[in-house]
Amino acid sequence: MTMRTDAPLKTSGAARYGLDVTPPGTVYGYVVTSTIAHGEITAMDVAAVRAAPGVLAVYTPFDPLPLRTPMSPLLGETWVPLQDTEVTYYGQPVGFVVAETFEQARDAALLVEVTYDRRPARTSLHAGLADALDAPPSLHGEPPTLQVLADGVESIEDALAASAVRVDATYETATQNHAAMEPHSAVAVWEDGRLTLYSGTQGSDLQAAQLAQALDVEPARVRALNPFVGGAFGGKGHAGVSAFLGAAAARDLGRPVKAALTREQVFTATATRPATVQRLRIGADADGRLTALAHDSWSSTTATPSFVEPTSHGTSREWYTTPNLAITQKMVPLHVPPTTFMRAPGEAPGSFALESAMDELAVALGMDPVELRLRNSSIAPPGRDLQWSSKHLDECFTLGAQRFGWAQRHRRRVDRDWLVGYGTATAMFPALRFPCAVRITLRPDDTAEVATSGADPGTGLRTVLSLFGAEALAIPPERVEAALGDSTLPPGGMSGGSTATASVGSAIAVGAPAVIDALVAVATGPGGLFEGREVAYADGRVFAEGDSATFGEVLRAAGRDEVTAIGTSAPGEEMTKHSFSSFGAQFCEVRVHRWTREVRMSRMLGVFDAGRIVHEQAARSQIMGGMIWGVSAALHEGLEIEESGRPANGDFASYLIPVNADIPTVDVEFVRYPDTLHNPVGARGLGEISVVGVAAAIANAVYDATGIRVRRIPIVLEDLLE
C-alpha cells in the first residue's frame, strides 16, 4: 500500500497551512465579538483603540468594510459581518481591529467600548419547544412532516396502538462545535486588483466564489489557496469572518492582512451543530417486525432560521422496513451561535435517538438487538420504489458480532470495580456525488498530474487522487502528482457529504481516456514519434507495431510540454434506478465504575459496507476518527449555553473531547463490495458514516452494564448515580 502522500509533511511539520504564509508587509486583524446575545448596538467608542500602539484601522458597523451577502446553490446564503447593528448571539463578530502585530491588534481590540440596547434573548431549546416552527423541506425536497401509511390505516397513532410491543421515549443531543485543530483563519493579499486568499476551506472554488460576491469583484480576480486544511468537518464550508474581513481590510489598507480566530472565538464566531430533542415511538409485532415508526424532531437554529439538524429525515425516513412511518421536523429559532452542518448532519444525532429506541425495543421484546436490526433491514426506503444498489449490512452485523464476541454479552460481567456492558447500533449515510471536474496532465518527464480545486482536510483525498490517476493511466502512483486546494484548478472534489472519493474517481475515469486519446493524437499526428501509424496505450507507454515509447518520450519527440484533458462527472441516470447508501454496524464495550460511576469506552469495532476501499490506511483513519468522535458525543462533548446566551465552556479546557488515554482499541473492518451501480470506481462515501450510531451503541452498552437508560448525550456522571 502506498503511504499517504501528506503524512511525512504533516508529521514533520513541513506542511504549510494557510496561516503559515506571511507575505512581506503583513498586518494583523483581530475580531471583536459581542458580549450580549440579542439587541442592537447603539454606539461603539473606538477612540482608545485608534490611539493604541500599532493600530492601523478599526472597522465596526458604524464604519464598516462593505460586504455583500454571497449566495451559492450548494450553501445558500453566507453571513457577512459588520453590515448592520443587530446582535443575534453572544460572541457575534461586531468589529475588526488591524494593527502591525497580532498582539497589538488583540490588545487594542480589548479597548472597544460597545453600547447595546439589549433585548430579551431566547436561548433555551426546551423553552422554545412549545412554539417551534416547521423546518424547511428536506434535502430530498420532502416536506418536514411526512407519512407513509399502509392501506386502510388511518393514522400513525392507530398503527402504534395496534402494535403488540411499543416504545415511546424522548432523546436529547447537545450543541457541538467542530473544534478542528486549525482555527478559522485567512491571509489576504491584493495585487493589481486581484485577491489571493490563503485559508483552510472545504472547497477553494466555493470559497473564491463567495469572496468574489462579497467583495463585488469578478470571480476570476479571486484565487483561493488551501493546500492543507487542519480539519473542517462541515465547519469550513461557508467562508468565514476571517476571510471576509481580512480580504476587505487588505483591500482597504493596501497591505496583506492575516486574521485568525482565537480558540474561544471559534466557539461562537463560526458555527455549531444544533442541539436536538427527538421523540421516537416504535411499534412492533411479537416477532420484532416493525409495524409503525414515528420520529418527531426539534432542532435549535439561529434567530433568523438557517441550518436545521435533519434528524428524522436523515434516519427513520430510510433505515428500516416499516409499513407505517411518520416523521416531523421542527425548528426552534434561538439567539445562539450560527448553526451549520457537522459530520453526518442529521444522521449523527438522529441515530442516537433511533438506535437507542431500537435497543429499547429489543429489550421490550427480549430479543437480541442484532437480530432485531437484521429482521427489519430495509431493501428500499419505506414508500420509495428505488432499492438499495448494494447493501451488505447483514454481513456487517454477522461479521462484527463474531469478531467482537457479541455472543458473550449474556454473561454477567463485572471486572473488579467495573461493570461491563456491550452495545450495538446501525450506521447509515447516503452515498452521494457532487459535480466534479478533474484535469489530468501527462508531462515529458513521464509523470502525470491529477488536479482539482477541492480540499484534503485530512481525509486522504490527495492520496486518493494519485491512486485513481495511477490506476486510470496504468502507471505507478509515485509518478502521479496530486494538485488540489487551488480555486484556479477545475472545480471539484469539494470535501463535504462524504462525496469526494466517488466524485473525483468518476471524473478521472472520464478524463484518463481523454488524455490518452490526446496523447495518441500527438504520437500519431504530424511530427509525432509514430506519425500515421496504428498505436495503442498501455502501462504508461504508446505501442506501435514492433515499437514503443513512454508517454514522456512521445511528448519530448513532439516538443510538447504536456497533454491535458479534463474529465467531468455528476450524479446522473443512476439516481432514477436505485437508492444509494453506505452501511455499517457499530459495536462497543463500556465500563461503568461500580462505585463512582465514571463511564469509559474500553473496546469498539465498526464494520462498514462502503463499496470499494480505495486506500486502506486513509479509510481506516477516517473511520477511526469518526468513531472516536462518536465516543466524544456520547461521553464528553457539548457546548453549554447559559441563559444569557454565553457559552459556559467555550474553550478546550472545559469543552471536553477525548484524549488519547480515553481511547483504547478501535477496530475497523470492511466488507468490500464495489458499488459500480453508483459510480464507475465503485467507491461510496466512508467519512461521515463512521460517527453514526456510535453514541447510541455506547448508551446501549451503558444500559447493558447498569440497567440505566440515559436518553441525553453527553452522558454525565450524575446520570448514573443510583
Binding site: 480589548l110 463512582t596 461521553l635 464528553h636 484524549v659 480515553d662 454525565v716 456522571l717 450524575e718
Partner: protein, 293 residues
Amino acid sequence: MDFLAPTSWAEALECKAAHPDAVAIAGGTDVMVELNFDHRRPPALLDLNRVPELADWALDDGRVRLGAGVPYVRVISELGHLLPGLAMAARTVGSPQIRNRGTVGGNLGAASPAGDSHPALLAAFASVEIGSVRGTREVPVAEFFTGVKRSVLEPDELISAVLVTPPSGPQQFSKIGTRNAMVIAVSAFGFALHPDTRTVGTGIGSAAPTPRPAPEAAAFLAGELEAAGLWSSRGALPATLATEFGRRVRDAAAPIDDVRGSAAYRSHALSVMARRTATWAWDAYRDENRSAA
C-alpha cells in the same frame, strides 16, 4: 510588562520586595493561561526558573524539602518511594507537557480548590516554606489556603519549598475526572496513615472553596482504630468503620454544582473515595506487617 529574572533566591526576594505586584512565574502553566485570557495584566513577571535554590529536593533530617520549582515529572520519577501519595497525585496532572513544566510550588501559588497536589500534601501534614526579605516562615498546608485561589502569601513573599516528613504508613490519592487525562478534578481525595503518631491524614480536593482536610473524620478514624487496638494488631479495617469514615469526610466538604459535576455527585464520590482509599491504605499497612514477619 517588565520581566525580572533573578539568578539567586536572595535576589528573587529582593525583586519581590521591590515589586510586590510582580507575578511569580515557575512552570507558567497557570500564569500563561491567565495572561492569554487577559485575566490579569501584571506590571511585571518574576521568573523563578533561574533560581537554583528552588530547583531541587533533598532529604534533610528525615524531612523532604521539595524546592518550589521542581516539576511534577521529577516528583513522579524521584519521590515515588518517599512521598507516594504526592507522586500519585502528580501522575494525574494534565499531560506530559504540563508535568514537564508544572510545579508543586506553582500549584500552591495558584491555590485552586482543584489543585491536585493539595489533597496529598494535606494528608501528609506538609508545610509550606515561605520567604521574604523579612525572613522565613513555615505554614502548615492546612492553614495556607484562605479562599478560592487565595492564600496567606503576603505581596512580598515567595514560596521556597514544601516541607514534608514522609508519612510512616501507606498513602493513597484518588481523583475523579470527566476523562482519563488533561482533566480538572471533579473531586479528589488524599489519604495517609501515620502509624508512628497513630494519626490519619486527609485532604479534600475540588469540593469546597479551598482544599481542606477533614480533621473530624480523621480523628474519628484514628480513634476507632485505637479503641479497637487495630494499630498494633493490624487487623482488618471493619467495613462499617470505613463507610462511616467516608460519610464523615463527605460531611466535611462543601461542594457546589458546576459544569464538571453536581454537588450531590461530589458528595457521593467523596464518601466512596474516602472509604476506598482508607481501605487500600489499611490493607497495605497490614501487608507491610506480613512482609516484615
